[in-house]
Subunit: 223 residues, 4 copies
DNA sequence: AATGAATGAGGGTTCATTCAT
DNA sequence: TATGAATGAACCCTCATTCAT
């Protein structure tokens, strides 16, 4: 079985497991939740199926009735996240927001960050697992790139280019600007989980972040 | 053995393994290098000692003659990195650079980023392992926080505050400014390793990054 | 974990494994029997779990499903013996026999020896293992002393003292008398297993042993 | 290699290692002593050569320079004991004592017990090892039986028979009498090492033991 | 003679997975 | 559908032994 096959199969597995997350039985959900908890806490390889079973309160065999393989369990918990980020619905939303040339960039970025960070925070354990395991499971990495990164990049480039053409943004390499934006978001997540104890007012923080970011990017208005 | 003991012991293990990295035997070095390679590629838990042995061209038992435990092997490859980042020598350098109020912030940040990114890039596999495993091995995380993060934070705060007092930087929350700086660096690393194929001129990229960053932070001179 | 904890845990393990020896599954019993056989033949440390598995006709993993640890396997085979010797039921029996001042000492000792030697012989491999390993596993030794030796000693002292007070036994150090009795029993076991081939009529042999023993202990009646 | 060959080779090994115990080098003696200590403490299989080397303060390789095999180390420590017990010199002594029909049995037994118990006590760790390992190493067991037990038995039977013929001992099965004597000795050793803390006056204890023993065996004189 | 690095077989134990119930 | 006993490969690690120095 070559890489492509593995990949296809994995993707298929993800899609299969996807449809139903809503229609899952009680036990399936409990298994999935325990897997999320443990994978996030200790990593995929360091969590054993027996632990998951115990934590979920089911027999070990039950796991394999619902998820053919331990790896399928991983896929089953990764896939919905990818879908959520990639779903046309969501992207249409994003597109609409970003495409609105009338709306000030500040508002757009603030909304965007709020929106995405909220999504990430609400699903933090899953996100952590994805970021961890994407490095070691090319199928997952590929799925991210294919389904999210590529599209997001286009969206971003379009947004930046538009503003640049309109003279709102300075004349900088588009890639650098996008990197600055993404870095801002990633860095925020990083700090949040690295130093989780410090209280913070997210709305205010985002405002400041965007302020710094856009001040760095925008053309200085000569007023 | 409670957590503190484990931690102390781990640190001690790191220090022990440290002194010699230069005076390592051929085999020790080969083992360490294979471990670095495999841990970076597949993760700590997913790499077996037998694989490492095979890759290093030694008997499996030989690993344990030189590194009491698989975890000690991890420590032995983590520790020198932490030391390199934390070494007073390096920090003094950093201190000197950052403390020089005469030097323009641009130059300081460019130098700093260059310097640190170089260090990280030259030791990328190790860095990847550290970032991966710190999440699951509290001793490593603690060592990072105790020996690096804390000091770096103070240094950063001092630098930012000084510039702010001097009116060079805008009046922003210090934490937010530091976060912006760190995010810039982290984001750069992230992009570099997420999309490794794109050619790039690091010096130029850093200049642009610092440009955006400082434009965002600095008070706009009314010229 | 200090010694006491280890001990308590070991005892707990013994008790846990105890309840069920009757309700053991077929495989458990086979494992236990193979362990008994091999430990007795070659010693605890010289018998490997893989050998035991092979002898029992199960997979090696199966052993560890039923007995958390190789040592637990040892406990599981030691504990029932200790219980058998220490069980109040048995001791009450012994007490009754020994406490009956009317019954001649000859009969008491003969019954006692018969009874205990039978017990030991029927469980000889286990007994051999216990005697072997008690020397190296303080928990086992402690369990013996706490649960059997202490009680047995009191019982013995009481018996001897009573007979002495009644003038039936000579005026000798109680400890020496007890030692003589116990030595008789131990020596018999020793000879039996050192030179197993010689046919013997146990009833007759015991009678002779008790004869010699009591002749040595009893006051000579002047008739 | 069949059993006989193993046996012959083992015996040869013992003899080889024997000659020199006096002419051993410092290191050899230290190795042997550490082996004795550790084998007695933890058993043969549970003691590793590396432990022995560390305890003896030599390199691990050094052990194998002097003792071809770990088992040879065992033989080297067992053999001198067997020799000591079996040496014609000693036996001649014993023979002389036991053969002296004039001497009262009490004195003979007291002397004998004193003598042998002293020998055993002075070499207790070795004795413990021999008793332990003889059960698992047929060569050792055979050596004991061939060189000691057989001879001792003859000696004992002769002694008992003589006294019986002379009317000093009651008319009992010779084997039973011998067993009583040996049991007395073994039991004493057992108690001594089972309850080592109680102070004791050996001379007095032996006198009592022999008193009980002979009272049990001797014909009651009608004085 | 003495060392200690190197070996690889084998140790006890855990693992993901299967299957009869 | 759910179970959990059973599996045997693979895990990390220790062992007795060898051998170049």
């Amino acid at each position: 079985m070559d890489h492509q096959e593995i990949f296809d199969q994995a993707i298929q597995g993800m899609l299969d497991s996807l449809k139903n997350e809503q229609e899952m039985t009680e036990k399936q959900r409990r298994i999935l939740e325990s897997a999320i908890k443990l994978f996030a806490e200790k990593g995929f390889h360091a969590s054993s199926t027996s632990e998951i079973a115990k934590d979920a309160g089911v027999a070990e065999g039950t796991i394999f009735r619902h998820f053919k393989t331990k790896k399928d369990l991983l896929y089953a918990l990764v896939a919905p996240m990818l879908i959520k980020f990639a779903s046309p619905l969501v992207l249409k939303d994003v597109k609409r927001i970003m495409g609105d040339a009338e709306q000030p960039a500040d508002q757009i970025l603030e909304q965007l960050l709020h929106n995405r960070l909220e999504l990430i925070n609400q699903n933090w354990p899953r996100m952590k697992i994805i970021m961890q395991e994407a490095q070691f499971h090319p199928e997952i990495m590929d799925a991210i790139v294919e389904n999210i990164a590529r599209e997001a990049r286009l969206l971003g480039e379009n947004f930046v280019q538009t503003r640049m053409d309109a003279g709102e943004f300075r004349d900088l390499p588009v890639k650098a600007v996008i990197r600055a934006i993404v870095s801002t978001a990633l860095g925020y997540i990083f700090f949040q989980h690295m130093f989780p104890n410090e209280e913070n007012d997210r709305t205010e923080e985002i405002r400041t972040m965007v302020d710094i970011l856009l001040n760095g990017i925008k053309r200085k208005n000569p007023d």
